[in-house]
């Protein structure tokens, strides 16, 4: 038992290193995950920002949480894609015929998503700082923000894992990303929900992304997080658990 556990950690770390190499070697991934959200931020702030009334004195401050979530949503299609390729090309079969912890290969992909997102989110925050983003958050609040973003990333990544493991084609594997792209857009991420038509508003105010956005926004502006935090944790915690269990089931059955 002891050795299995040690091996699980080292094997997962090796898998993580392998799949991070894939990320850093594909320009496409880096552009979509890091540069696109930055371009979006520039567009919103310098082109559309003047026309959007948020009540905040600094639109970058208002916008940043949503941009960070968009970046995460953009990235998860790649997790599905990489998982699908490993299944299709027999790489997983090779790993599974070797004496290594079974789920290490899957965890390697999931942690790759987490690590690469944390890097790209960090870069986006730096760019936002240059664009005038200011935060009164202390260390604890920043840790809270990082934790919330990590949980959100894991939630979407495990959903993406299900898609990647059960897809029949490359397109099918990546398709999971499309509906998820829209969630941050139909939330309070870019404009206050008050201006939306009532049906859209009801959806926007009650979907998980809004509570995550509001939690991060509150933390960054050093405001009390209130019930939004519990709502965000409830949503993400519940979904990530279900997605994890389901993905593991698909993984075991497929192999």
């Amino acid at each position: 038992m002891e050795t299995t556990r040690t091996y699980f950690l080292t094997d997962t770390a090796i898998m993580l290193g392998r799949s991070l190499r894939h990320v850093f070697r594909s320009m496409d991934t880096i552009i979509t995950v890091t540069l696109m959200p930055i371009a979006m931020m520039l567009l919103f702030v310098y082109v559309l920002g003047g026309a959007i009334q948020t009540g905040a004195d600094n639109y970058v401050n208002y916008l940043l949480p949503g941009i960070l979530l968009i970046a995460i949503a953009n990235s998860i299609g790649y997790t599905s894609y990489r998982l699908f390729l490993d299944m299709q090309k027999g790489i997983f079969e090779r790993f599974h015929s070797m004496p290594i912890a079974r789920s290490a290969a899957l965890w390697g992909h999931v942690l790759t998503s987490l690590v690469s997102n944390m890097i790209s989110l960090f870069i986006i925050v730096l760019v936002a700082l240059v664009m005038g983003f200011r935060s009164s958050a202390g260390v604890l609040e920043w840790l809270g923000v990082a934790g919330m973003l990590a949980l959100f990333t894991l939630t979407l990544t495990w959903i993406a894992a299900i898609a990647g493991l059960s897809a029949k084609s490359v397109d099918g594997a990546a398709a999971i990303a499309y509906p998820i792209h829209f969630l941050p857009l139909i939330s309070s991420a870019f404009v206050p929900t008050a201006t939306m038509p009532s049906a859209v508003r009801i959806f926007a105010e009650n979907q998980p992304v809004t509570s995550v956005v509001e939690t991060i926004r509150a933390l960054l502006s050093n405001q009390p997080v209130g019930s939004e935090l519990w709502l965000a944790l409830g949503w993400c915690g519940g979904i990530v658990l279900l997605a994890y269990l389901f993905a593991m089931r698909v993984y075991r059955r497929a192999n």
């Binding site: 190499r21 027999g90 015929s97």
Partner: protein
């Protein structure tokens, strides 16, 4: 010490009602080359996947490297290595990185040296630093086999190792397989090429319609072929003819 590397009894497997293996029995001696011969869809890959713990059989028993594939898959994995039907190399890594990856996953000392040795042995030195996606089919297959040899497993499975290779590359792979066996490794290979089985195998088994219909040494198989009749020049039947004759007879039943 037992003499058998693999012992299979009454192996059955079906996929959603399609019965693929209908009671397969076979034995492979330690240190020998065993060739499983069969046409497309006859179930070769299914057998390989069961013996390498990737698939669970519906019924029957398979002992590989001294352990039951159902009860002790972990121990079986310690003893074997698999080169699947389609080259499973990581295309986003270089040849050397692929080998180092496997060496690290097998928790071996000095992964770099192991990689360099294999690159040398497989004539991949020059391409070692290139991404595997730039490799030709033959190079990819060589890298694929090299990856399976990391860690010197006592029992190596090769599922159609030469399909899709040109004659030269095929002969190279044959050479590697012969060297492996000469070093004491047991080799289980599947093939559609009768010539390949003739060239390499100590024992040959023919899989047809989910059962092993014949097995034996090449000499034994040749004896089963109906004697030549009215011919002036005595012609030795090739394995191909034996195969077609037996499969043909099996179809008429």
């Amino acid at each position: 010490m037992q003499k058998l590397a693999i012992k299979v009894e009454g192996l059955q497997k079906s996929f959603k009602g399609l019965s693929v293996l209908k009671g397969v029995d076979l034995e492979v001696e330690k240190g020998s080359i065993f060739a499983l011969l069969g046409t497309n869809g006859s179930g070769k890959t299914t057998i390989v996947k069961i013996l390498t713990t990737l698939l669970r059989p519906d019924s029957g028993k398979a002992i590989v490297g001294g352990f039951d594939v159902n009860q002790n898959p972990g121990q079986v994995r310690q003893a074997i290595s698999l080169t699947g039907q389609f080259a499973a190399v990581d295309e986003m890594l270089t040849g050397r990185e692929n080998l180092i990856l496997i060496a690290r996953l097998r928790h071996l000392q000095n992964p770099r040296r192991i990689a360099d040795d294999l690159l040398n042995r497989f004539g991949l030195n020059e391409a070692a630093g290139r991404l595997a996606s730039t490799y030709s089919g033959g190079m990819r297959r060589r890298l694929d086999i090299a990856m399976s040899l990391v860690g010197n497993a006592q029992l190596v499975f090769l599922d159609e190792p030469t399909t899709g290779l040109d004659p030269e590359a095929r002969i190279e792979v044959w050479k590697i397989i012969k060297e492996l066996a000469a070093g004491g490794t047991t080799v289980f290979l599947t093939t559609q090429y009768l010539e390949e089985a003739e060239q390499l195998a100590d024992r040959i088994a023919i899989l047809d319609k989910g059962k092993i219909i014949v097995s034996g040494t090449l000499a034994e198989l040749k004896k089963m072929f109906p004697a030549a009749t009215v011919e002036y020049i005595e012609k030795q039947p090739s394995l191909e003819e034996i195969f077609l004759a037996i499969v043909g007879a099996n179809q008429e039943q």
